[in-house]
């Protein structure tokens, strides 16, 4: 990992999660109708932390689901490596719910497009709101996040790496030079 900068450290991470939880509650007026859906892989852990925070603040626990968008991707023909699929785990009914879709990094917007299609196949939610830890720009589709942890202007030669205790042993966000693709 060719690190250029540490953008969020452990303490900043906790504060960001806390703020996102508050913003979600504020915008939805503390509604009990919200459900959280984390996008595999790291979005799931961020969603879990936001859920825990919401429980602390409001003393209620929103339903929680996991979405795998692999089957909805648009890059099967152009990618070199075959993506691994895992199970979507959404056991509640999404109809009429206010869905908070949670991911780690918002970049081209293509994953979000796939996620929207995936959620729509499960039913007709009242709203879908997008919450991301980092927005790094360079959108290729008209997608905008409702809740953003941090906006980070990047060049396309850079990558944003979100590291989480659950997967990587630390909570931090780094800006790194993209590894040479050849």
């Amino acid at each position: 990992m060719d690190i250029k900068a540490k953008i969020i450290d452990e303490e900043g991470f906790t504060r960001t999660i806390t703020r996102l939880a508050h913003e979600i509650l504020e915008k939805n007026k503390g509604s009990k109708n919200i459900v959280l859906i984390g996008m595999r892989t790291r979005g799931v852990f961020i969603a879990e932390r936001i859920r825990n925070k919401i429980r602390e603040i409001e003393k209620f626990e929103p339903s929680f689901g996991i979405l795998d968008v692999t089957l909805y991707r648009d890059d099967f023909r152009t990618r070199l490596k075959q993506p691994e699929v895992s199970v979507t785990d959404i056991t509640f009914d999404v109809n009429e719910k206010d869905i908070i879709l949670i991911d780690d990094v918002l970049y081209t917007g293509r994953t979000v497009r796939a996620a929207l299609d995936a959620v729509m196949d499960l039913g007709r939610p009242n709203t879908i709101q997008l919450c991301v830890l980092v927005d790094r720009g360079h959108r290729e589709l008209p997608v905008k996040a409702d809740f953003v942890g941090k906006n980070i202007p990047t060049s396309i030669n850079e990558e944003v790496r979100v590291r989480l205790v659950e997967v990587d042993g630390e909570d931090a966000v780094y800006l790194v030079n993209a590894p040479n693709k050849n």
């Binding site: 795998d68 099967f76 075959q82 699929v85 199970v87 979507t88 785990d89 299609d117 196949d121």
Partner: protein, 307 residues
């Protein structure tokens, strides 16, 4: 992770990691099948031909459903309504179909080796849906998936294949697949139905069904295939049922923990009593549901592979 081959011709020689990957991927599709909209856009724009030279309901419908649920375009070909009747050779038929630009061919044929031959004359991904007395790999995979779903593992399990093993492609696919997943496989049936020398595959042979029930975790019970001349190997269906039929009495006396699989269609009162076929020990209809998920997994893994 990708499969190591771009075709699925049989389970013989397929590495354990590949089987594991197919079974794990099928779990994802099992979830898709429980959704209100049982369809994902994954194989959009891919064209798949189902080339069936032999009768089939279950397998053909299962493949077709799997393809539709992955949003592929499918064409069904069966010999009864095709130019094969007009004398066109197999190779010409395939070349013509290929000229229409297809990505995958699912083939069932009465002759062993046809899928293998297809890989030489076509650029498409080939999936074997049963070739002669050779293999029926997706059936083997769905049997393994059903066992794993019910018992949580395959490694170390004792599985016995019961019935007309010598006339069964399902038996061969099960044997190869289960063995590479670390299960212990044996066969049970009248001597006329067990191929000589099968022990050389490292398989134990039983001729007493009670003993087979007692000593195994799973019985995969094959259909007595009268259309394949099974009648000359046994005196009568009634006698077969008496000596080898699976009945509730036998299960309750010898092993209440047994799991019964059957690839269908069932001859009720022959290889299984009606009571067993509908009873608590079997997973026959789960096998059918799992079959769609397994076929989706195979189509997905082959169809999205980079050639």
């Amino acid at each position: 992770m990708s499969l190591s081959s771009r075709h699925l011709l049989g389970l013989y020689g397929v590495p354990r990691e590949d089987i594991q990957l197919i079974l794990d991927t099928a779990t994802t599709f099992r979830e898709v099948l429980e959704r209100p909209i049982k369809k994902v856009p994954t194989l959009q724009g891919k064209t798949i031909v189902n080339l069936f030279y032999e009768n089939s309901t279950r397998t053909r419908i299962s493949f077709e459903l799997a393809q539709k649920r992955l949003s592929a375009d499918t064409i069904n070909f069966s010999t009864s309504s095709s130019s094969t009747k007009k004398g066109e050779t197999f190779k010409d038929t395939v070349r013509n179909i290929e000229a229409m630009k297809v990505d995958m061919i699912v083939v069932r044929h009465q002759s062993a080796g046809v899928p293998q031959y297809l890989t030489k004359i076509s650029k498409a991904n080939i999936i074997n849906a049963g070739d002669g007395l050779h293999e029926h790999p997706t059936q083997g995979l769905l049997d393994m998936y059903s066992i794993r779903e019910k018992l949580g593992r395959l490694e170390g399990l004792k599985v016995c294949i019961v019935g007309d093993v010598s006339h069964s492609r399902v038996a061969l696919s099960n044997i190869f697949g289960l063995k590479s997943m670390g299960a212990k496989v044996s066969v049970c049936g009248p001597a006329t139905m067990i191929p000589t020398g099968i022990e050389s595959l490292g398989i134990k042979v039983y001729h007493n069904i009670n003993e087979a029930i007692e000593k195994h975790d799973v019985l995969n019970v094959l259909r007595i295939q009268l259309e394949r001349n099974a009648g000359v190997k046994i005196p009568s269906l009634r006698e077969y049922h008496q000596y080898f039929g699976i009945t509730t009495e036998r299960i309750e006396k010898y092993n209440k923990d047994i799991l019964i699989l059957h690839p269908g269609p069932i001859n009720r009162g022959v290889e299984l009593s009606s009571e067993v076929a509908d009873g608590p020990y079997q997973v026959i209809l789960d096998q059918v549901t799992n079959g769609v998920a397994i076929r989706m997994a195979v189509l997905y893994l082959l169809g999205t592979m980079h050639n």
